[in-house]
Symmetry: C2
Subunit: 337 residues, 2 copies
Amino acid sequence: MSLEEHTNSMLPVIEAELHRQIARLDQPRLRPFYEMLTYHMGWTGENLGRGAKGKRIRPMILLLVTLSCNQEWLRAIPAAASVELVHNFSLVHDDIQDNSPIRRGRSTIWTMYGIPMAINVGDALFSMANQAILDLAKVNSAEKVLKAGKILHDTCLDLTCGQFLDMSYEKRNDMSIDDYWPMIEGKTAALLSACAQIGAVLGNANDATIEQYRIFGRNLGLAFQVQDDIMGVWGEEALTGKSTASDLLEGKNSLPILYGISQKGKFAQRWNASRLRPEDVEEAAQMLKNEGAYEFASREAIRLTDQASEALQKADPQEEAGAALAELVNKLLARES
Amino acid sequence: MSLEEHTNSMLPVIEAELHRQIARLDQPRLRPFYEMLTYHMGWTGENLGRGAKGKRIRPMILLLVTLSCNQEWLRAIPAAASVELVHNFSLVHDDIQDNSPIRRGRSTIWTMYGIPMAINVGDALFSMANQAILDLAKVNSAEKVLKAGKILHDTCLDLTCGQFLDMSYEKRNDMSIDDYWPMIEGKTAALLSACAQIGAVLGNANDATIEQYRIFGRNLGLAFQVQDDIMGVWGEEALTGKSTASDLLEGKNSLPILYGISQKGKFAQRWNASRLRPEDVEEAAQMLKNEGAYEFASREAIRLTDQASEALQKADPQEEAGAALAELVNKLLARES
């Protein structure tokens, strides 16, 4: 089976499980609350379409890892829903924290219902993620469920640490590349690492194999974030010839920008002088490229992707599922090779 | 042992366990984040003193129930920390949602660090509550830990439901007493009910006994909230002759106020005419009393307290621990008898 065939068989089951978990709120008195969650999940409301749901990458990775360990992926479905719920909880709170009006092409929860309600929607998704992981107990041993739960809960604390670092960096302008990695460890790598680890635990893998899957997920997450950061400065430039470059405008703590600052060249001078205006962005992006930021970040992305691939090989995945995982990685990181 | 002696032996152990759980953030890079949590817990910062920590009522109830089931309370300590962490997570988010500047006589987290950081502090406390409950596995069977975890996570979703109802009621003025009970089931009763249930699970109680402890905790929580609502309108009136009556000013969905509205008398007329000003409050409180709201709410508080006591008796607690629990109930509800 190809990645596409796996996706076609897994995605509807993931979606059904997410519906089942969120249906806990499907009660007459709670109807408007329930609808806030179904809106966020991309099931109801404005601009429905493929983009509204997100790609459900995290549950896909979890299930493919379980399958790579030669186990039936259906036994891991509540965990797949759980990691997607954690991801969505963190998005709802992130959007408040970042003051973001749009997510997946649609209005964010806080812009529609206000900050107090949006905080509560995030808390509900978080609670459901915790409930979902315990639903594993129906077809997995209590010890395995506890092991998966511990990975999940530790990861949620890591997410808050990454979020803290990101928010506290916004008030500083003495950031270095050394500050970057711990931030994205929490914000991006922790949850992808947890997906791979939990998938392996539920795949009955031994500790050495679980560790390789952890390294795989972690490096995939880091590479994914670096790739995202590159797109955030140079956007679809290569394809469209036009920079989107919103990260420069927002002053985001991204790898290319931190690299540029550390070079103390023309970019750093311009960056430290005053906040960039939209008309400055193209020139600043070009300065960054001239000073080697694009090459540096691209090399980092490749290095991390190679480490992810190496760990995946060491984990010795079942042939077909391993190939699907590798294909997913390539798709995610949009590598030419 | 009296309640005071139990408190003296349990409180320091609860506090040490809370410190141990929160120390997960005690890392150089995360120092300011860690200090936000230690501030909220009442260990560092302004106005330290007995009031800063809160009374740790929830962990006390949990441990006393375990002891009432003739089990060593030390085995339940991580669960005691967990319920206190859930309580504190919900306070941090509540204070943002209610726009409250003061908690336990000290500035709230969001007024000190801003809303984005405060959301994240709440999320961290929530994550630690989930981690703490799994720490039970060190001295309890995996099955018991899963049972306690399920109660905890279901309760957290109940909390968000109560919070949703409370916030959505703020925009309505057609509220009735029927709307009141589901709201406080979630906001107040669910967590006290969970404390008693988890205490009984860890006390190796059978299902019938666990159910009595659940009813005990639930009715205690409901009675506690009704009592709080009475104080919110008539305050220390009986003692000081002066009404504090902040709930009337804030337009809170409290039982006496909803009763007054339902009577469609002079109070309801005044209430619906315009928001009360500070100088109107004393008269409005008197109107409410004249129309029977004080008597109604007091009768409800007594009814619920009696139901709690009855369930506690049926649970057949070990003599000394049961007496301490009963004493705690009386203290909490400040009953004359």
